[in-house]
């Protein structure tokens, strides 16, 4: 029995090498689907749909959009970490919609992830969501009362998207407007509780990378370097299988 357990632990360790903790406890809530899989892209008569399969069921992740879209699609040749909540909505492109859903492209190549399905009658894509990319998004805000900002990140990533760069711009604008005496930047590292009970931990250095990047950008946006304090917490945040994506973050606090 001990031998079998050892083999099992080693096997799980092989599946989740770097930065992965593979202990089995309880599982996330039943309506959550947190898993790593190869993404699937399905062509349609309009926009391609992105899907992923978990335990024999197909889930709809989102539609192809643009760099200004809320949803950044996965990438073939890479696995994807899916963190979403099952809905009762009708299937889209053959998959059960997950909402909200957060996807993160796993950095390492996996050439087995290569499924592109043709368009079929009866598997239509829904209308594309309205673009948030408007002129308004490029304009600076007017209010200056906000003091705390949270910059979210994909799993194991310090890449700032079109949307998250806007958060930094706004934070810098307000810091300058209120002549902030200090700006605290704090980077975090998180863990994702997968639906199979395993925990997927972010790389050890990611909190530091995130914090330093945000700090440098704030300085680049005109904040005095002496006013910006950059810190990070190398200890991974606890996970609950629901709010884990929100914990992959950098917080900015403006102190007038």
């Amino acid at each position: 029995m001990k031998k079998a357990l050892t083999i099992l632990i080693v096997a799980i360790g092989l599946i989740f090498p770097d930065g992965t903790e593979a202990t089995r406890e309880d599982k996330p809530p039943a309506n959550r689907r947190n898993f790593v899989a190869c993404p699937i892209v399905r062509d349609t008569k309009t926009l391609p749909c992105w899907l992923a399969e978990y335990e024999g069921e197909l889930y709809f992740l989102g539609l192809q959009g643009s760099s200004a879209s809320e949803f950044y699609p996965p990438q073939l040749n890479h696995e994807v970490l899916v963190e979403g909540t099952v809905t009762n909505e009708p299937r889209i492109c053959g998959g059960i919609p997950l909402r909200p859903v957060k996807i993160s492209v796993i950095t390492e190549l996996n050439r087995a992830c290569n499924t592109l399905l043709p368009a079929e009658d009866g598997r239509e894509a829904p209308a594309a969501p309205a673009r948030r990319f408007t002129d308004d998004m490029r304009k600076a805000g007017t209010e200056t009362t906000q003091r705390d900002f949270t910059v979210p990140f994909d799993f194991d990533s310090d890449y700032l998207t079109f949307h998250t760069t806007r958060i930094l711009s706004e934070a810098a604008r307000i810091a300058k407007a209120v002549n902030a005496a200090k700006i605290e930047v704090l980077g975090y590292r998180a863990t994702t509780w997968l639906s199979n009970g395993n925990r997927l931990m972010e790389a050890q250095t990611i909190a530091e990378k995130r914090a330093k990047k945000v700090g440098e950008i704030l300085v680049g946006l005109g904040i005095s370097a002496s006013a910006v304090s950059v810190n990070w917490n190398p200890t991974p945040e606890s996970c609950d299988g629901v709010t884990d994506p929100e914990k992959r973050r950098v917080t900015i606090r403006i102190m007038p």
């Binding site: 062509d43 192809q64 959009g65 990438q75 073939l76 040749n77 190549l109 079109f162 946006l221």
Partner: protein, 539 residues
Amino acid sequence: MRNHGNPDIRLIYADGDMKQARFQRHVIRLAILIAGLGLFVMIVRRGTAGYQGTPQALQWIEAGAGGLLPAELHFENALGKLGVLNTSGPIEMKGHPFFEPLGINPRGCITCHQPAHAMSVSVDALRERWRATKGEDPIFAAVDGSNNPKLPQALESSHSLLLNRGLFRVGLQWPPRDHHGKVVQPEFSIEVVRDPTGVNLDDTYGLKGVNPTVSVFRRPRPSANLKYVMSPDDVFNIKTGVLMATDPETGKPVSMNLMADARHLTLKQQAFGAYKDHQEGRQGALPREEIEKILAFENQVYVAQSFDRWGRSLVEAGGPIGLGPKAMAEGKVHVLANNNRDPVFRVFDAWKKPDAMPKDLSLEQREFRASVARGNDVFMFRQFWIRDAAHINSIGLGNPIKRTCATCHNTQMTGQDLAPGWVDVGTTNYPTWTEPPVFSDKAELPVFKCTCDKSAPPHPYLGRVIYTNDPGRALITGKCADIGSIVMGQFRGLAARAPYFSNGSAKNLRELVDFYDRRFDMKLSEQEKVDLVNFLSVL
């Protein structure tokens, strides 16, 4: 008219006024005298003030030749004529730093940026220069106009990359230097796998020399239409998610779309770099006023194809509004045009119906114009799967995306990327390059093996071991993910400056279209390919 004893004429004179006949002879003699004097003045002016008159005389401008560069010129090429417009009026080339040799060798900026070749230079012109000067033209200077400065420079084979592909040697320091000249710790090691020119393994110029250098071979980019090329995007660089690089003098964001590897951020930096590297000038020896004159010239010159191959102007009332150099001079900058409201090269509807075209056009011309209009539609609206292109698929758009040529070539009037446009489209990296096998004796370009550090993010579609002819942007950033990424170039004046791609791997527009067709499995029909080629030929 002279009388050669024709009695009928004598009769006429006899019947008319003999005085009038004598007067006519005087007028004719005077006219001949004036014409001769004019010819003499023209010859003298050409001798003292340089080229004046027909564009033919300006087909190749030698540095230091002087003369007047007219405000508007039209140069013949195989696909029609290229229009060149100097919006500030005629340019006196004598004493102008763009047109004069400034460094140690006798080259000027003009040497590699010729108006007849859309302010770049074509392979046909280079071959002609080799023939006409027996290889003595300064453009073949050993420093970068040959495959390797140590090769016997009198031999044509020592300049094969320039003569066959229009490529100049670009030697870049290793490890890389950032935009401030600071050494960058690269995420990858680089080794020379094949070195047909011998320069990368050379003990002076090579990777293991005293000043380790990686030599890559690239086409010169057109120094025209630069208001579009230099137009900066947002404060943030959407490709990297960090702040855009800034002009060190003004602190303002820059476009990063000027160079193939975006190493020079401003026209001023580029001018200094070209002076130092291509003209072998001394560091810091270029006066500020000369730089300003170079920049002033570059910022006012526009190029675009202006006539079709039948000699008919492409710019006609009621025709496409995006053609010709005047449209380039007048166009708005920084317009995202990957849409059907105001497309990248504007609208070609007037050319969609041959019956509605001017009546004096031949059937062939009508069909050509209709083909161009279809080609525009293919460029703008023909969808295909864009796949495994680093810095397109990897920046949040997804891999693959079902979009069009205009998705990436989205800037109105030039077809560059509105954002910093470095992309690994696959022209320089194995396995999508079009070069012969690495072991082949026919291989012309160097092959480098780049091995990325395990701790670094890999190239998103090639992993951590990449074979490449040119690491591109990665030779500046040192990033594994940037290996093979090249800043896309502008589409204007293409007919005047073959070959294409930064490594000259597409000899003509058809090869360019074929590359994309294969690379992205576009499944273009023969008609679509012809239409795309015709479309590109009029830009």
